[in-house]
């Protein structure tokens, strides 16, 4: 049974008010955009709580809300590893160890840091791949949103695309990064306040946490797993056969926890840009830590609904979730189903608006990261250097228009040729997997050279590609999902394959960078690297903040709570 959401006048009113505020923020910020630094870095003037929530929110796009709820249904509480093993430790590491170099070096973007630390070609490689990636991600967000609206409320696909793209365009064009950041914070509250009643009603309906645990037992046993698989996060990770993710603890900790999460949270300019806009070094370092607080609790908001939905679906013999094309329940419909099921007119408008907001913020985050990298790292570096600052501000505005038009093109491609998008995402995966090795060596080993970094990255990317060609998940036909050279290594699941691919790419990049750096001469002296490498940078002064506000202390507290959560749901 397909889900159909009936919106009433009051729901439209809430939606309209939200968009008036979103656009209003853009208009109100227009007069503060005087130079390129205002537009791309918010003039480095934003308080930490705002950058912190925006840091979180930039990642809280469709992928998070819809995807994590889907994983909650599909894998149960093991999905929390994406938070309590993946995101949180990486965010703490970024705050304590990496932010001093990003913020302190006065680099305006992550690729620019690579240029300062290594050389032009390393920056070019990162900047170009990142620019292409963000613009396609933005297009994918847009496509997913329009497709969802088409299914749920029967709006026209192309009208949705143009209207949503236009709204995002207007507020970024006017207010630049500040506008995107402010709207991300607005959207953060929309999602938290719009979805919390959903979790409450769902939990109440299912009969509370212990009843939920009870009802998840048949979900696990009917698929051949041990009774507690859906409610225990670590107990079934000894062997990939024991859990629905098909991953063991080593792949989880090293692949997701270390390589992929640190790679994403510590090097992806989309999130790091939010911290770079903070008003001081201490605000920049507090940004990821402030984000870590709510991030720790997000599983309640996004994973728990998935678990509730699958329990109710199982109990009602499949009446809660619509069936997907493969005969399994359509896990991506968890949140929409619950909205339609529990929310009366009024609250439905709030929840529905929150859902739309999450897609649009995902898109806006990508667009702002794109226009910065395009303008500073590509346009100013290779196409038109030494122009006036107002010229770059102008360029940033038009890069926004251009970026959004390309996103629409990407959405068009995604709607017509799904395979091309799968292929692109695959290639992005190859490029991203080794990145963290380059940054780690760059920041903590002064001997790492430009050649080492560039060829290490290239080698890591090729290693990822080769590994993908040589491996695939059991039961998958060799092709886009791997094994296109020869399916030599077999994995229990695509997720397991992906985690091991990341480990191989990271290790290759790490070793190659070390080897090539030793064989090549240094091109940057110790003086050049001051502020860019750990051993050559004076420790950041603790700007007269009390001890309980210091990043190291807050970071340790955050990590201890995370360990506690892991043990609690072991």
């Amino acid at each position: 049974m397909p889900i159909n959401i009936q919106l009433h006048g009051i729901d439209y009113a809430i939606l309209a008010i939200y968009f008036i505020f979103v656009l209003g923020i853009g208009f109100a910020l227009k007069r503060t955009m005087k130079g390129s630094v205002d537009f791309f870095l918010s003039g480095r003037s934003i308080p930490a709580w705002v950058t912190g929530l925006a840091f979180l929110s930039a990642n809280l796009g469709a992928q998070e809300v819809i995807g994590m709820a889907a994983s909650g249904a599909k894998y149960g509480i093991m999905t929390s590893h994406f938070y309590w093993v993946g995101a949180i430790p990486a965010m703490v590491f970024l705050a304590i160890f990496m932010m001093p170099f990003y913020y302190g070096s006065k680099a305006r973007s992550v690729p620019e840091y690579l240029k300062l630390r290594f050389d032009e070609k390393t920056r070019g490689f990162n900047a170009i791949s990142f620019a292409v990636m963000t613009i396609f991600s933005s297009g994918i967000s847009l496509h997913a949103l329009a497709r969802l609206l088409e299914t749920l409320v029967k709006w026209d696909y192309w009208t949705c695309i143009w209207v949503c793209a236009f709204i995002v365009l207007v507020y970024i064009f006017l207010g630049g990064l500040t506008s995107a950041i402010y709207n991300e914070v607005l959207q953060f509250f929309m999602i938290v306040l719009g979805f919390s009643p959903l979790v409450y009603l769902g939990l109440r309906d299912v009969g509370g946490w212990s009843a939920l645990k009870e009802k998840l037992i048949p979900v696990a046993t009917s698929q051949g797993y041990a009774a507690g698989t859906w409610t225990q996060s670590w107990a079934h990770m000894g062997n990939p056969i024991e859990n629905p993710m098909g991953v063991n603890w080593f792949a989880m900790v090293m692949g997701l926890g270390f390589v992929l999460s640190f790679g994403y949270w510590c090097t992806d300019f989309l999130v790091v840009q939010r911290a770079m806009a903070a008003k001081s070094m201490s605000a920049a370092r507090r940004t990821p830590l402030i984000a870590a607080g709510p991030k720790m609790l997000f599983p309640i908001l996004v994973i728990l609904p998935g678990m509730i939905a699958i329990a109710l679906n199982n109990q009602s013999g499949g009446a809660f979730l619509p069936a997907g094309s493969d005969g399994h329940p359509d896990y991506n419909m968890v949140i929409p189903s619950m909205l339609a099921h529990y929310f009366p007119p009024g609250l439905l408008g709030l929840g529905f608006t929150a859902l739309m907001a999450s897609f649009m913020a995902g898109m806006a985050g990508n667009v702002t990261a794109f226009n910065t990298v395009w303008t500073y790292d590509i346009y100013q570096s290779y196409i038109a250097p030494k122009k006036s600052d107002s010229h770059y501000l102008w360029m940033g505005r038009w890069a926004t228009v251009f970026g959004i038009l390309v996103s629409i093109g990407a959405a068009f491609m995604a709607s017509k040729f799904n395979n091309i998008m799968d292929m692109l995402q695959l290639v992005f995966g190859f490029v991203n997997a080794p990145l963290f090795a380059t940054f780690l060596l760059g920041m903590f080993w002064k001997r790492a050279t430009g050649h080492g970094a560039f060829f290490g990255l290239l080698g890591g990317t090729l290693a990822a590609m080769a590994f993908h060609g040589l491996s695939c998940a059991v039961g998958v036909t060799p092709g886009i999902k791997g094994g296109w050279i020869e399916p030599h290594f077999l994995f229990r699941s695509e997720m397991g394959q992906n985690f091991y691919m990341a480990i191989v790419a990271w290790t290759s990049c790490f070793l190659l960078t070390i080897g090539i750096s030793i064989l090549t001469a240094r091109t940057k002296s110790d003086a050049d690297l001051k502020g860019l490498v750990y051993s050559l940078t004076p420790k950041p002064e603790s700007e007269a903040e009390p001890w309980y506000m210091r990043p190291a202390f807050v970071g340790i507290v955050v990590l201890l709570i995370t360990v506690g959560l892991n043990i609690l749901f072991w």
Partner: protein, 66 residues
């Protein structure tokens, strides 16, 4: 100087809160069957209103020291 973000957040959620509370008061019980018989518009609207007013209070009290 950028404006204090708590201002629009406070305004918007106060507005949402007010709308939902009023709607909760005037709407009949039949639409709350799906929300397990709870008048969620009234309750949650009230919550949003309190949240929005608190944000406004803090935004206006300190007058942009942020």
């Amino acid at each position: 100087m950028n404006f204090d973000l708590r201002l629009p957040i406070g305004l918007m959620f106060s507005l949402f809160g007010a709308i939902l509370t009023i709607y909760g008061l005037i709407s009949g019980p039949e639409i709350y069957q799906r929300s397990l018989g709870i008048n969620v518009n009234l309750w949650w609207g009230g919550g949003l209103l309190v949240f929005g007013l608190l944000m406004l209070f803090f935004a206006l009290r300190k007058g942009g020291d942020n």
